[in-house]
Amino acid sequence: MTIDIAIILTPFIMAALIPIFYRRLRKNMIGWVVLIIPVSLFLLLTTYIPRVAKGEVYSHTYEWIPSFNLNFTTYIDGLSLIFSLLITGVGSLVILYSIFYLSVKESLHHFYCYLLLFMGAMLGVVFSDNLMVLYAFWELTSVSSFLLIAFWHHRKASRAGARKSMTITVSGGVAMLVGFLMLYAMSGTFSIREIINNIDVISGHVLFIPALLLVLFGAFTKSAQFPFHIWLPDAMEAPTPVSSYLHSATMVKAGIYLVARFTPIFGGEMVWFWTITGVGLITLFWGSFNAVRQVDLKAILAYSTVSQLGLIMSLLGLGSVAVYLGYSTETVMYTQATFAALFHLINHSTFKGALFMMVGIVDHEIGTRDIRRLGGLMAILPFTFTIAIIGCFSMAGLPPFNGFLSKEMFFTAVLNITELNIFSIHNIGLLIPIVAWVASVFTFVYCLIIVSKTFLGSMKPDIVEKNPHEAPFGMLLPPFILIGLVITIFFFPNLLGEYILKPAMLSVYPTFPSAEEMTPHISAWHRINTELLMTLGVVVLGIILYRFLKYWSKIYRLFPKQWTLNAIYEKVITSSENISESITKRYMSGHLTHYFVYIYVSFVAIVAGTFIALDAFEWNPTNDAVIENYELILVFVMIFAAVAILFAKSRITTVLLNGVLGYSVAFFFVIFRAPDLALTQLVVESVTTALYLICFKFLAELKPERSTKRVKISNGLISVFVGATVTLIGLTVVNYDKFKSISSYFEDSYNLAGGKNIVNTILGDFRAFDTMLEVVVLFIAGLGVFALIKLKAKKGDVDIEN
């Protein structure tokens, strides 16, 4: 048992133990016990930092299903370390926070169980080298987040949000799985590292682009990229610690992780570049633009998260250019986008985590998150206000907070890219910085909204009545730790760069010779350049827009309500349900005749279709046995009787005619030299007829068929086709004489089985097994008839009985 697997497994083990603890411990203790796990894991992981910084990687393989190359291969490198530190670090803070946030009346054991499951799953995602195992953990994050979102499942909105997130993320996961399978088909391995090593072999494969798109689909759904972001705002129904953990720091970053992880594989493709950059930028814009119109603090943060994820995503897209270009001194500068992405990823986790916790406090203490009902909280929630203002300014990209640094780097990256002359960037390249900038303006606006609408202005009277207090220390501590990081990182960014980001850069660009070159020196202050001017512009325009929000916010009404993405999603779901229902109801009518029609039509279409398409028909009556006159009469008798059944008006007539047919069949058995058959047929036919008569006591007389002429004609046509199919194939079969029958063997029955009646020796010896089972069939039928008659439903018996 090595450490890496222990890291992944510990949360699961703990999750499994929770029900035990839950019974033994006081309810408020459970959180503290759980807290041990992330904290110790975090500490453990920090010990990896110096070693990984030196360029070491750790990998171990544990066999799971080696037969199909599904092995549990852990892989710790710079990239996975960043994420794992976030997962355990933010995880610790969130659990600490939740101890105070959640009442002991809540089913805490469920909560912590889900949370630990989730944590383990996330660790699994980032530590797995095997695609299938990665996928397994990936889906587990969806599942555990589903449970967390639905934690308050008695609320309708919680359930709806959970369902939406699960549906969308699992769909993405399934697509990603297909992408992984395609990768496997191309490379023959599930190991990401091996695929990276074989990149030359697979990059020309036809499946390469589809695989790329499918993997991206997975990443985009998970990371809430446009247009799949719609699940994230709804997921805010989860308890706030969950939002803060899943929807800011961890789960949504899984998509980012995936994109970063796959950049070495797909990074050289134009499709990759444009898709990620484009989708990222659209998301960035759309998220920030929509955040402004929200009135729920959590919703603002949700859209803000969407937007920030878009930002990080677009940076990864921009950074992928470097993979395409390959290593050279000029191209290294493009890797900085990726550096910025990773940097912003950490920054975002810090300030967004803090902000969510801040909202949680507001919600917890005031009882609402609606900014229309909030205001003036600065006075009563001073610490919370501090968190809010630092978090928001960092998010808005203002100094002296870490967000400023990464935002500047983002601007650098979007500006740099316009100078490239590949992938047709020159055509619309200028749009990239423009969109980035516009989005940043909106970001600034909603940051102002959060701070001012909540904390500034005057308090609403109903809030005053409640006489709210500042949150307890335990709830303030985690956000303050995060805020502390926000500031610390601003002042010591290069420590982060050196120890944490640098090794990760090597993971993204394994072909680049040195990480040193890809690790820029981050400085808070540099000379006045375009980036700084852009930031200034953001601030100025942002303030103006905030001032005049009332006037221009009307543009949101331009978007018709029924055409929002959410509405479309709902419409697609409901209409697909409704259409499915109407189609299904239409053909699954419950009417047996319809089912028979389907069956017969399929029979004719498929069998006769094949028969005709393959041109299999042959007819050669020369080998036929001669037809005697009396046989001809018998044939006519049968046809006459058969057709007469169709027109018979009384059930007795039909049964008698059937008996005539049966007897005629028996006579054919006589003519065709089958004495045993003739005997059996005679008796069975008689007994069957008797059975009909006996049962008629309980049945009604025939009524004329009340079908329309059309139905009758179509049934008639079907019948003729079915009959013709049998006849035509039969005619061909009769002529088929490529093989001699095995039955000549049975003609030696006397010597082999001691019987002179060949048919009987077949039944009693050669194929006695059939006979044995046929007897069983008969027995079942007899017993069944008995049971069916004796076991009648009791009067008034509703089908409750199981």
């Binding site: 008006k649 009384s650 059930r651 007795i652 007539t653 008629f696 007389e701």
Partner: protein
């Protein structure tokens, strides 16, 4: 012509005779006016036909193959005994199920006993299709 051959011919002719009788009785089944009269055709002519035929077959097998078929004899006996019973039962059933006698029938001494009415021919129940109550 040996005895054997004569017997063979006897057999064959018996069979042919039977077949002719059978066709006649079939015609009777079509032609006769009501179920009772038809039952006469069935329980007599048809039975006679089959007995002739079976007897012919019996003789044929005996003469040609030297094969004395007990089964044929049993068959003859069986048909012989059972066919009048069948005729009796069907007529009874028909009568009890109100199947009318043919038009132009004479006296009916059973009707008053069974249905308590006058001994007049032809109850008016329509028996076109089935006789279930």
């Amino acid at each position: 012509m040996s005895v054997k051959e004569i017997l063979e011919w006897v057999a064959v002719l018996l069979i042919l005779f039977g077949s002719i009788v059978s066709v006649i009785s079939a015609l009777g089944l079509i032609k006769l006016p009501d179920v009772y009269t038809r039952s006469h055709a069935a329980s007599k002519s048809s039975t006679f036909a089959v007995l002739a035929c079976l007897l012919g077959a019996f003789i044929y097998f005996w003469v040609v193959d030297g094969y004395v078929s007990i089964r044929l004899i049993l068959g003859i006996i069986f048909v012989f005994i059972t066919s009048p019973v069948a005729g009796h039962l069907i007529c009874r059933a028909a009568y009890r199920a109100n199947v009318p006698l043919a038009e132009g029938s004479g006296e009916d001494e059973l009707k008053p006993v069974l249905f308590g009415g006058e001994g007049v021919v032809g109850s008016s129940v329509d028996l076109e299709e089935g006789t279930e109550k």
